[in-house]
């Protein structure tokens, strides 16, 4: 970790581009660090930035700062370090310094990453799509990158954790801040699970809206392509798509119902040229050129009858089971259509639920489990 990169990255409005220019202008950052006001003026900094530099220089104590991060088990990498993820170096506005917790080696070992992003409030459809796609990625040694937010992000991380597979979470806050607070345990599990939590923000940075948008740039940067599951029309997910396009990466979108408010943004992206996917294999094929598109079989979850043991079922159970398909059905409709007693239906539904045949997706709506 270079002391001077760390110092300049903390200064207001100085990013990687300016740091590179400083090196070019002064010869090295050390010279720049010791330069006087006129030197900076010649370089073209305005008074405000110069004032900030000198103020920060007065109180800057590199060893103390590093100690703070060490205490929190946070590692620091600068753009010039060898360990800095090569995939991130390629993007135009890569962060000069990144902070991380966990094991970053996986990034280079597996070499295949995919961003999985979506809206914080998602429908049952979004949840099952994320689960199915992530399970495929894991079985194909593709690491998922996501934002650690609620909804789709959390689900993609959770799938990796349940399969003991590393996952990458990019935060919009300092690494000592847990946002959203309810994901505290999830983040711990990501680290325990050989995954990594990355942020470009120094410790103590709170979750400001603009930080999350900058965070999305790194999600796209760390991924070979970005999968968008469900997104509202004006959501952070849309900015991730924008960053991915600017970084010349593929944006894959899972379509949603045209009536669903959860999929408005996703459908908009498809309309505007994003890649329409119905199967995770298509993504694998598109980015890394493996797999055979002909063998694609996502629809398997949805259409083909699963070998379910129906022998234990009585007549009533069969009637109810046949009524419940993959589209969620309300208990009220089940009552009306089956013409059975509500007590009996309650019994049957709970038995199905315990046996894992159906799930209650909320609002007393039931659908079959894939």
């Amino acid at each position: 970790m270079d002391k001077y990169v760390f110092f300049f990255s903390t200064v207001y409005k100085i990013g990687l581009k300016t740091i590179l220019k400083l090196i070019e202008f002064f010869g090295s950052l050390e010279i720049a660090f010791n330069a006087d006001e006129n030197g900076f003026k010649k370089f073209g900094f305005n008074d405000f930035i110069i004032k900030d530099i000198f103020n920060k220089k007065k109180i800057f104590n590199f060893d103390e700062e590093i100690l703070k991060y060490e205490k929190l088990n946070i590692n620091i990498l600068s753009y010039f370090d060898n360990d800095y993820p090569s995939i991130l170096k390629k993007i135009p506005d890569a962060p000069a310094v990144i902070f991380y917790k966990g094991n970053l080696n996986n990034l280079n070992n597996f070499n295949k990453t995919i961003g999985v992003v979506g809206s914080r409030d998602c429908s049952d459809y979004g949840v099952s799509v994320t689960k199915d796609f992530c399970e495929y990625f894991i079985s194909n040694n593709i690491i998922t990158v996501s934002g650690g937010a609620a909804g789709i992000d959390s689900i993609s991380h959770e799938v990796s954790i349940s399969k003991n597979f590393p996952t990458i979470s990019v935060m919009g806050t300092g690494l000592d801040v847990v946002y959203p607070a309810k994901n505290k345990i999830l983040f711990q599990k990501i680290i325990e699970n050989n995954g990594v939590i990355i942020s470009e923000f120094p410790i103590g940075t709170q979750g400001l809206p603009q930080n999350f948008i900058r965070r999305n740039r790194i999600i796209a940067g760390l991924s070979s392509g970005v999968l968008i599951v469900e997104a509202g029309l004006k959501s952070g997910t849309m900015t991730t798509a924008e960053f991915a396009i600017n970084q010349n990466k593929n944006v894959f979108v899972v379509p949603g119902s045209i009536y669903s408010p959860f999929s408005e943004g996703a459908n908009y992206l498809i309309k505007n040229g994003a890649i329409f996917v119905t199967n995770p294999k298509e993504i694998n094929e598109m980015i890394w050129g493996v797999g055979n598109v002909q063998n694609v079989n996502v629809g398997a979850h949805c259409n083909a009858p699963l070998p379910i043991d129906l022998s234990w079922m009585g007549i009533d159970e069969k009637i109810v089971f046949d009524l419940i398909l993959y589209k969620p059905k309300n208990i009220e409709n089940i009552v009306v259509e089956s013409k059975l007693n509500i007590g009996k239906i309650n019994f049957i539904l709970i038995m199905f639920e315990i046996k894992g045949l159906i799930i209650n997706v909320g609002g007393m709506n039931y659908r079959r489990v894939n």
Binding site: P180, K182, P261, I331, I342, N346, F347, E353, G362, G363
Partner: protein, 550 residues
């Protein structure tokens, strides 16, 4: 008698005569003064009672008339309403044609250590004044076996007072034969058998009765025919008008039968409130004992009136969520029963449950557990009954659409979490049934499914309640929901199949250990609907359907 000396007697002898004379004068004076005291100026005693909480205590009212400027002073911890009664009494006495003694009147309310509040002492104080100055003859009536209660108006008419039912119960328990009360309170007092209730309309009538001039007949009340005359069925919330929601209706039926607390949650407009209100139509009739209990609470709270002299319908209380802790749980410096006690033996409906203040919700813990509430003040500790079915309704989040499949929820994660956390774990644990009420697209429902009406549901509920009564007749409880752990052990035995099912449920449905007893109690009620001695698998399964979903 006059003593005159004779002139011829020696002087010493004459002195002796004088000495005797003084003594005789003295004794004559003493005789007349005692006679005067016993006949006219005499301390008089009238019995009345104080209502403290729901109970009554005897209050002796003594009046003494002494020489001095005209003044009435009331001693014995009277509060303002009692102290003001002297002005009402003096006007009432004047306007009824009696003389108010132009002397100093001291009225003592004994025992002097209990706080006296309310207007019910007007009548007994007035009587004791009349008794003290001899306008009412002590011999004409035996005051020691009678209790007097009532508020006076300025013209001598009697006004209704609160807590008469408690007074009547006190009279019966303590052997007071006669109870004189305002006319409007007659019906509630007559609920208590074994006491002669005399309805008084006017002070003069009472005096005439006490002087044996015109006799007031004791109030005869045929309560059974009165009970039957009240139409218990409120048609407007009948089950038959609720379309669909069979799931929620079945849950209500179970809740009503086993007195289980129930929480409905779902988006706005899904019919939670309508469902909750309809529970009254399927609750069984109150027994006579219950009518007495409920009317007593309402009597103390002053909620009985001409239209509703006795509470015969099961109470349904739905306080607004802005209500204070004292109004809902009961309280005040002179504690009065709150909404939860007014809902005793009935339904307490808390609409928008999470919107109630934290203190209100948390203070529901004790009553939900014990069926009564203890209110402690510096001066006293009171107990009010509060055995009610809690029916609560809630939205899943503040905008109401969290989890809805069609409409998007506009709340942030934090807001949703905050909203959910408003109902604390201990409170949610005391609610046996958590029922989701979804929005229903009614077009999807075929129109020809006729809903069952409340009357037939009620029949089933009453049958289940009879089963429970039989089961618990030696255990001091009535409903399945009141079962304690030892009762659960005895009456909710499970076979291996059921245990297996519960084990599976704990695994696959994320059930907490605390939910276990709740599910057993609920399964007991569901089994009672099948008239089944043992809890079977389908009963457990249905009970699981009403679990709390995380």
């Amino acid at each position: 008698m006059f003593v005159t000396g004779r002139l011829n007697l020696p002087s010493s002898r004459r002195n002796c005569h004088l000495f005797v004379g003084v003594f005789i004068y003295y004794y004559i004076f003493l005789f007349w003064s005692i006679l005067f005291l016993t006949l006219f100026i005499m301390i008089s005693k009238i019995y009345s009672c104080a209502v403290i909480g729901l109970d009554s205590r005897l209050v002796e009212i003594e009046s003494d008339i002494d020489f001095g400027f005209q003044k009435i002073s009331i001693v014995g911890l009277p509060d303002v309403s009692v102290n003001e009664s002297k002005d009402r009494i003096s006007s009432a006495l004047k306007n009824s044609g009696f003389d108010l003694p132009r002397n100093k009147i001291t009225i003592n309310l004994a025992p002097a250590n209990i706080h006296k509040a309310g207007t019910l002492y007007d009548l007994p104080i007035a009587l004791s004044i009349l008794l003290a100055n001899g306008q009412l003859k002590r011999k004409s009536f035996d005051f020691s076996k009678s209790l007097f209660v009532g508020e006076l108006s300025l013209n001598g008419d009697l006004r209704k007072v609160n807590g008469v039912l408690s007074c009547a119960i006190f009279a019966r328990e303590n052997g007071y034969e006669n109870l004189f009360i305002p006319e409007q309170n007659a019906q509630e007092a007559a609920l208590v058998e074994g006491v002669n209730v005399y309805p008084i309309s006017n002070l003069n009538h009472l005096i005439d009765h006490l002087l044996n001039k015109t006799i007031i007949e004791s109030f005869k009340f045929d309560k059974y025919s009165y009970f039957d005359s009240i139409n218990l069925m409120d048609d407007s919330f009948d089950f038959k008008y609720i379309k669909g929601q069979n799931h929620a209706k079945r849950a209500l039926e179970i809740a009503a039968a086993g007195a289980h607390n129930i929480l409905f949650y779902g988006p706005p407009g899904s019919g939670k409130t309508m469902l909750a209100r309809s529970i009254v139509t399927i609750l069984p009739k109150m027994s006579e004992e219950e009518i007495l209990e409920v009317s007593r609470v309402h009597s103390v709270a002053g909620l009985l009136n001409d239209k509703q002299p006795i509470i015969i319908k099961r109470p349904f209380r739905s306080p607004h969520h802005s209500g204070s802790c004292a109004s809902i749980v009961g309280g005040g410096s002179n504690p009065k029963p709150g909404e939860i006690s007014l809902a005793h033996r009935g339904v307490l409906f808390l609409d928008e449950f999470p919107e109630f203040s934290k203190t209100v919700l948390e203070s529901l813990r004790q009553p939900l557990e014990d069926g009564f509430v203890t209110i402690s003040r510096a001066t006293r500790t009171l107990e009010f009954p509060a055995n009610f079915i809690l029916v609560a309704s809630s939205n899943p989040c503040s905008c109401g659409f969290f989890g809805d499949s069609e409409k998007k929820c506009s709340c942030s994660q934090l807001q949703i979490l905050k909203y959910k956390n408003k109902i604390s774990g201990p409170i949610a644990d005391r609610i046996d049934m958590h029922v989701e009420v979804p929005r229903i697209n009614f077009d999807e429902l075929s129109d020809n499914n006729l809903s069952e009406d409340s009357a037939s549901v009620k029949n089933r509920v009453e049958a289940v309640i009879d089963i429970q009564k039989n089961r618990f007749k030696n255990f001091g409880i009535i409903n399945n929901s009141e079962m304690k752990n030892k009762h659960v052990k005895e009456f909710c035995k499970l076979d291996n199949q059921c245990l297996e099912l519960l084990k599976d449920a704990v695994m696959s449905l994320n059930l907490s250990g605390r939910a276990y007893n709740r599910i057993l109690k609920l399964a007991r009620t569901i089994a009672d609907f099948d008239n089944s001695e043992n809890i079977k698998m389908n009963h457990i399964a249905e009970a699981l359907q009403y679990r709390r979903k995380e």
